[in-house]
């Protein structure tokens, strides 16, 4: 069957759902936002008495987690345009919807920004009043040397700039793609190819600096030049893991059952596999160099994250991440048969989404006053579930009323006919 006739058959096929119902706003918004807000506010009230700002650490873990998923979505959309890859066109709309969630993630940052501007240093130590004031009791000359970069107004300003940039990019790619759904020619799509180049450049730089701000300045005296790539690798893992889960959920409810074929799922699996290994490569590169040189100002980060067994905290935390975030999924996703089974692939998707969250937990949690990595507790889990409900609600709100596949994309026919060799 030629591609044209395949496309003609597809466009007239009514056996699957391809459009998100406009009712999603009504159905999704209420319950999801209700549950999410309830969990977040409840957890905040519950942990107000804690000596350390555990709630805000849990909040930061969750917000960087969902930001990374949306950033992964943005990366997927931009890289499809940049490379001109045709296989992924049927998945691009999902990526666009997820990437649009970055705006909502920006809103979630507002409480943290407000507390920073209010001079609260319990989350970011460089913001503690006095550390940068010469003569103050807790003056730290190492931190004071970084005052030009690490000060609340500049930090918040940078954050707002990153989110505006990302939301602007996501919105541009989304809007143009959506208007293509109703266009007669290829007009709306044409500039996207060109803009994907600069967009990728901005994306690469901004995700580097943003992850440095959000995660590395929790320990402002620590150095790692590869950290931005580490966070990006986690984002890419997250988006493909989410795709695996999303496709399984949608198809089991009769959405896009024919459009997204086993071949597309196979590719999601391959990319999940590849980026999982990429994450391991980067994480291990960062670890190996620091471990080998064993310079205190670099090693301090791993020292609280346990490489060797200990009586406090999680023993072998770093080695555990190596085994459960790399070796196990590597072996699990190695086989082509696994990647072509919808249910099994979705299982690995869920697993990797959990491991990616644990990765961020591993980065953020030890920076609390305790200074060692403990097992996650109620606040961390409740906050990520609550924020997950809000985030899912936001994504459904964005998706409502739109086609879930770019129906008039010039390359859709190629994508539908895609087959792995």
């Amino acid at each position: 069957m030629s591609q044209t006739s395949l496309y003609d058959t597809w466009i007239n096929d009514t056996s699957e759902r391809r459009k998100a119902s406009p009712d999603l706003r009504r159905i999704a918004f209420g319950p999801l936002f209700g549950i999410g807000a309830l969990l977040l506010v409840g957890m905040w009230l519950y942990s107000r008495g804690d000596p350390m700002p555990r709630f805000w650490h849990a909040y930061l873990i969750a917000v960087t987690y969902f930001s990374s998923i949306s950033l992964g979505g943005l990366f997927f959309v931009v890289v499809l345009h940049l490379t001109g890859a045709k296989w992924g066109v049927v998945l691009r709309r999902l990526g666009e919807i997820v990437s649009m969630g970055i705006g909502f993630c920006g809103l979630l940052w507002i409480p943290i920004w407000a507390s920073l501007l209010g001079g609260d240093g319990s989350l970011y130590p460089w913001n503690t009043p006095g550390v940068m004031t010469l003569g103050a009791e807790n003056y730290d000359s190492l931190l004071a040397g970084k005052v030009a970069f690490l000060n609340a107004p500049f930090f918040v300003g940078r954050g707002i700039f990153y989110f505006l940039l990302w939301f602007g990019m996501a919105r541009y790619f989304f809007k143009r793609s959506v208007s293509q759904d109703h266009a007669s020619g290829n007009g709306p799509m044409e500039p996207l190819r060109w803009w994907s180049g600069p967009a990728m450049l901005f994306f690469a730089l901004s995700i580097n600096f943003a992850s440095m701000d959000w995660l590395m300045t929790l320990r402002p005296t620590w150095y790692s030049t590869i950290f931005g790539v580490y966070y990006f690798a986690g984002s890419a893992v997250a988006i493909f893991a989410l795709f695996a889960v999303l496709v399984w959920r949608m198809q089991s409810r009769g959405v896009l059952t024919r459009t997204i074929t086993v071949e597309h799922r196979h590719d999601i699996g391959k990319l999940l596999f590849g980026f999982t290994f990429f994450w391991g490569y980067i994480a291990f590169s960062q670890f190996l160099l620091i471990w080998y040189a064993s310079i205190p100002e670099e090693m301090q980060w791993y020292a609280v994250r346990r490489i060797t067994p200990s009586s406090t905290g999680i023993s072998f935390a770093t080695a555990m991440l190596f085994i459960f975030h790399l070796i196990l999924p590597f072996l699990g996703l190695l086989s082509r048969h696994v990647r072509r089974q919808r249910g099994i692939l979705a299982g690995w998707g869920v697993y990797m989404l959990v491991m990616h969250w644990f990765d961020l937990y591993y980065i953020i949690a030890p920076e609390t006053a305790g200074g060692s990595l403990q097992w996650p507790g109620l606040p961390e889990i409740a906050v990520v579930l609550g924020m997950g409900a809000l985030y899912a609600g936001a994504l459904l709100w964005i998706a409502a009323g739109h086609w879930l596949v770019p129906v008039r994309d010039p390359w859709l026919a190629e994508s539908l006919a895609f087959e792995n060799i």
Binding site: M1, F287, L288, W291, Y292, S294, L334, R336, E419, I421
Partner: protein, 438 residues
């Protein structure tokens, strides 16, 4: 039997049809990979992935075992490993071994998949019956072909021709199984020459190992042989003070260089604070002058009379002390400690000839004054040196830069043992030892 088809879709349809007619030994040829042809031909799922997986695991295991054997074992046998401490890590240190394990995994897997692909395809072959078929050359351009081999159980020329024609095959032709042509002679000659040339570097290496050469060594890649670097004790234009060696930054202490315990570091009960040769000044400036104190003053200092608790008094320390003493001290003081080492003997000779400058002979360690010295004082002398009375700048140099802290204390222990050899009393023995002697 070979038949040509119009295009990729016709090829797939024909492959499916011919399978349905019961033929099993069917092969398809096309100028580019055709999606779905595997399914249409019902190709068996390949074994190669499993072989590659096994090779990858083998590579990983080999790499780990190799590193363990080379760096974590040592013994007195041929091809033994060698325990080489690198960067203070344990000999068997998994994180450091992972890059090699990773690379060997890939190397083994890549070679196996490449060579395995060749082997499973029955390659290399120098000739194939298909190559004698004019029309088949189009398979690299725009021809799509199906082949049924004569080994097929249902094979008969007539039946296959009918079958092919019934599903739209054109130009159905019979191929004669031409035996493989012999490998051309020049091929062997070239291979032999290449093999010989490939051996030349090895032969040269073997030759160079056996002989010796006066000329400087050949540097094909200079690696780090000629580096722009400053050598110790040389002048440098780079720094304002003209030295290539840098002084420690004022007010800093090197890692492991903090010396706060007067017992361990000075041999004193407490730091009296007026010893010019001790404390931070001496430790911060390498090669600082030894103490200018007079010998007469020394006994008044609060020397410690017992070894510090950090120093283990054992046979091991004693042996170590003996070794270090024979390396560092015996050249002047003599192996037995009589002050007649080789340097001292030479100096006496020169003095008799009237050629020696001012020279303070090494003290005999068995002298009454030295025997009476507490361990702290001997340690202090080993560490900071000793000047001749009157403050002349001759005498023994301090050895703190050359000998580690533990080793200096080990030397003190050995010196005490040396002194005991000339001063052994029957009372020093335990009852059991006395009994053993009797």
């Amino acid at each position: 039997m070979l038949a040509q088809f119009e295009g990729p879709e016709e090829l797939i349809a024909a492959a499916r049809a011919i399978r349905e007619k019961g033929y099993r030994k069917v092969e398809a040829f096309s100028p580019f990979p055709v999606h779905g042809i595997d399914k249409a031909l019902a190709a068996r799922s390949p074994v190669l992935p499993w072989v590659v997986l096994a090779a990858g695991l083998t590579g990983c295991t080999v790499a780990l075992l190799m590193q363990w054997y080379m760096n974590a074992t040592e013994g007195d046998y041929a091809f033994a490993g060698y325990q080489f401490g690198i960067s203070g890590k344990p000999f068997w240190s998994l994180p450091a071994n992972i890059p090699v394990a990773f690379e060997l995994t890939i190397l083994f897997a890549a070679f196996t998949s490449f060579l395995g692909m060749i082997a499973f395809n029955g390659l290399p072959r120098f000739s194939n019956p298909l190559f004698h078929h004019k029309r088949f050359a189009k398979a690299t351009n725009d021809g799509f072909f199906l082949l049924i081999e004569s080994e097929d159980p249902n094979f008969s020329e007539q039946a296959v021709t009918t079958a092919f024609e019934s599903i739209g095959g054109k130009h159905v032709e019979r191929l004669l199984d031409v035996p493989d042509q012999p490998i051309p002679r020049p091929f062997f000659t070239i291979a032999a020459i290449v093999a010989v040339v490939a051996l030349l570097p090895l032969a040269y290496v073997a030759f160079a190992r056996g002989g010796h050469s006066e000329t400087p060594r050949l540097s094909i890649w200079c690696d780090m042989d000629y580096q722009p670097k400053a050598k110790a004790q040389t002048a440098s234009d780079l720094f304002a003070d003209g030295r290539s060696m840098r002084l420690p930054v004022a007010g800093t202490v090197a890692r492991g260089g903090l010396r706060l315990d007067p017992r361990l570091h000075l041999g004193l009960e407490h730091d009296d604070g007026n010893d010019a040769g001790t404390g931070e000044a001496a430790s911060a400036a390498p090669g600082a002058a030894p103490s200018d104190e007079d010998e007469a003053e020394s006994p008044q200092k609060p020397w410690i009379t017992e070894f510090p608790k950090e120093i283990e008094i054992s046979q091991r320390t004693m042996t170590r002390g003996q070794q270090r003493f024979n390396i560092h001290c015996a050249v002047c003081h003599g192996r037995a400690g009589d002050g007649d080492g080789l340097v001292a003997q030479r100096a006496f000779q020169l003095q008799e000839l009237g050629q020696a400058p001012a020279w303070k002979p090494p003290t005999s360690l068995h002298a009454e004054t030295i025997r009476a010295q507490p361990v702290g004082q001997i340690y202090n002398t080993v560490t900071f040196g000793k000047l001749a009375p009157g403050g002349q700048r001759i005498g023994m140099a301090g050895y703190q830069e050359h000998i580690s802290l533990e080793d200096r204390w080990a030397i003190v222990l050995y010196v005490k043992a040396l002194q005991r050899t000339r001063d052994a009393q029957i009372d020093h023995l335990t009852e059991q030892e006395k009994a053993a002697l009797q």
